[in-house]
């Protein structure tokens, strides 16, 4: 790894700390987070290495990889950290910064699922699971994914064909709008 003023971005690390409310520097690399992480096996950088890369200001490597999108938010790392590094919150902060930069990560399917889930809240107020699955398949190009599961779940009443919007949908839209405005004015990260 080449460390220089060009590759290190300490401002980014400060932003992660502000968003997550957790120190990054406090980590002393015991590796307990990665030992208990159910998703480490799917990541190119396990959790403790993500923190080490952050300590060294290697923001591009962190955001470009798929590790942050493969975190399941199971909170095992934060629960077990002996130095009270809130790694689950740091992962949230990293995903937000990646998201705001329009997802430079190679992992796009998790981001797509997140986007559709949040769109569903804004449009309907509650999750419309059938629509979530159908649009995910179309947008991800996996038209046949879970094809046989859909009818089975419909027949069991586990998927609803139709879904009505919340009566108070305008209040939900208001929350989304006001958060956007706060960010524009610099009142929120």
């Amino acid at each position: 790894m080449h460390l220089s003023n060009e590759t290190m971005n300490i401002g980014f690390v400060k932003k992660v700390e502000a968003l997550s409310g957790s120190s990054v520097l406090r980590c002393f690399q015991c590796g307990k987070c990665s030992a208990g992480c159910p998703m480490a096996t799917f990541m190119e950088h396990p959790p403790n290495r993500i923190v080490r890369l952050l300590q060294l200001g290697q923001w591009e490597r962190v955001l470009a990889g798929r590790s942050i999108w493969y975190c399941a938010s199971c909170e095992t790392c934060s629960t077990r950290c002996p130095n009270k590094v809130n790694l689950a919150a740091i992962m949230d902060a990293l995903r937000k910064l990646s998201w705001d930069a329009d997802g430079p990560s190679k992992e796009s399917l998790v981001q797509l699922a997140n986007r559709l889930f949040i769109d569903n809240i804004r449009t309907y107020g509650r999750q419309y699971e059938l629509r979530l699955g159908a649009i995910f398949n179309v947008k991800s190009g996996q038209f046949l994914k879970d094809l046989l599961l859909g009818p089975k779940l419909l027949s069991k009443g586990k998927l609803k064909m139709f879904h009505s919007k919340n009566k108070n949908i305008s209040e939900i839209e208001g929350i989304f709008k006001r958060i956007e405005e706060m960010r524009k004015k610099g009142e929120a990260l």
Binding site: L19, G21, P38, M39, F42, Y70, A72, S73, C74, E75, T76, S78, T79, N86, A88, D92, A93, R95, K96, W99, L109, V110, L112, A113, N114, F117, I118, N120, I121, G125, R126, Q127, E129, L132, G133, F136, K145, D146, L149, K152, L153, K156, G157, K158, L159, K160, N166, K167, N168, E171, I172, G174, I175, F176, R178, I179, M182, E187, A188, L189
Partner: protein, 296 residues
């Protein structure tokens, strides 16, 4: 909570899954409260808590959605009963951050354009059963003890982690599920995967993750000699039940492992008829096993 002579009442936040893929959790929760003669009134016009996707990319949105839901819950009498582990975790997290951090509270109040009324106690169904009612009371009202049923209690992630938020039980070695089941006459097995992640919402984006992690959970429960697994989260249920056939196909296994919600087993033990607990909604039919044990 002062029950006094009045009937115990709860406000109820079912969450999105309980109106669709986890409908039997909603059906059995209502049946259980009826059997317990405890009031349960759904919060009107509640909306999605944001679950994992919202806090994954936008913490402020997640906190604001939950704060608004908690404000809506203020209109209904009683503590807020939550069945879904993810909704429970998000609502408790929002409550915790807003109560502890004045700057967060100000931002959330701007976002929801009003006061963040978040002080109503948020309680998971497990907590209501084990603490508000109490194990002695459960044993007393148990009409059909679950004798001979060996259950693997599966906690998953969000009921106990991170330790400062849910305040439900020990974060590494909880026993609230086992305590409830033993009060209702069931046997609980000791097993290795009580607290391991099932793959959660990767079921949509990366189902391969779920197949691997949930296989390990099913395998561990089987090895421990369990007849079934009990969960308290619709995502855990979906991954272990709906995805079980696919797991079998991919791993050359034949688990045939029924997955119950805590409310289904508790209501059954309290004498609710088996056809009122949504057993026909699940994929791995638990009825043959229950009949074999003489519980149905």
């Amino acid at each position: 909570m002062t029950p006094g002579k009045k009937r115990l009442n709860y406000a109820y936040y079912p969450g999105c899954s309980l109106h669709a893929s986890g409908r039997e959790y909603d059906i059995s929760t209502r049946a259980l409260f009826k059997a317990l003669n405890v009031g349960l009134k759904e919060v009107p016009d509640w909306f999605c808590c944001g679950a994992t996707p919202a806090h994954n990319v936008d913490e402020l949105l997640s906190l604001s959605l939950c704060a608004k839901n908690l404000s809506l819950a203020e209109e209904v009498e009683g503590d807020l009963a939550v069945a879904c582990a993810a909704c429970f975790s998000r609502l408790k997290t929002a409550q915790h951050h807003i109560q502890e951090n004045p700057a967060t509270k100000r931002q959330v109040e701007t976002a929801i354009d009003g006061p963040a009324r978040v002080d109503k106690p948020v309680k998971h169904i497990l907590e209501i059963l084990a603490r508000d009612l109490g194990l002695a009371k459960l044993a007393e009202v148990c009409k059909k003890p679950l004798t001979g049923l060996k259950v693997a209690c599966y906690y998953g992630c969000l009921l106990t982690r991170p330790p400062e938020i849910p305040d439900l039980d020990d974060c590494e070695d909880p026993s609230i599920m086992e305590d409830i089941l033993r009060a209702l006459g069931a046997e609980t097995v000791q097993w290795s995967h009580r607290m391991e992640c099932c793959g959660a919402n990767f079921t949509l984006s990366r189902p391969g993750v779920v197949l691997k992690l949930s296989d390990a959970i099913l395998s561990s429960a089987k090895l421990a000699g369990a007849d079934c697994i009990m969960v308290a989260c619709p995502l855990c249920h979906g991954n272990l039940d709906i995805r079980q056939q696919k797991i079998d196909e991919g791993h050359q296994t034949n688990y045939n492992m029924p997955i119950f919600y805590v409310t289904q087993l508790a209501a059954l033990a309290l004498g609710t008829a088996g056809d009122k607990l949504g057993f026909d909604s699940v994929i791995v039919d638990p009825r043959p096993m229950l009949r074999e044990k003489g519980l149905l």
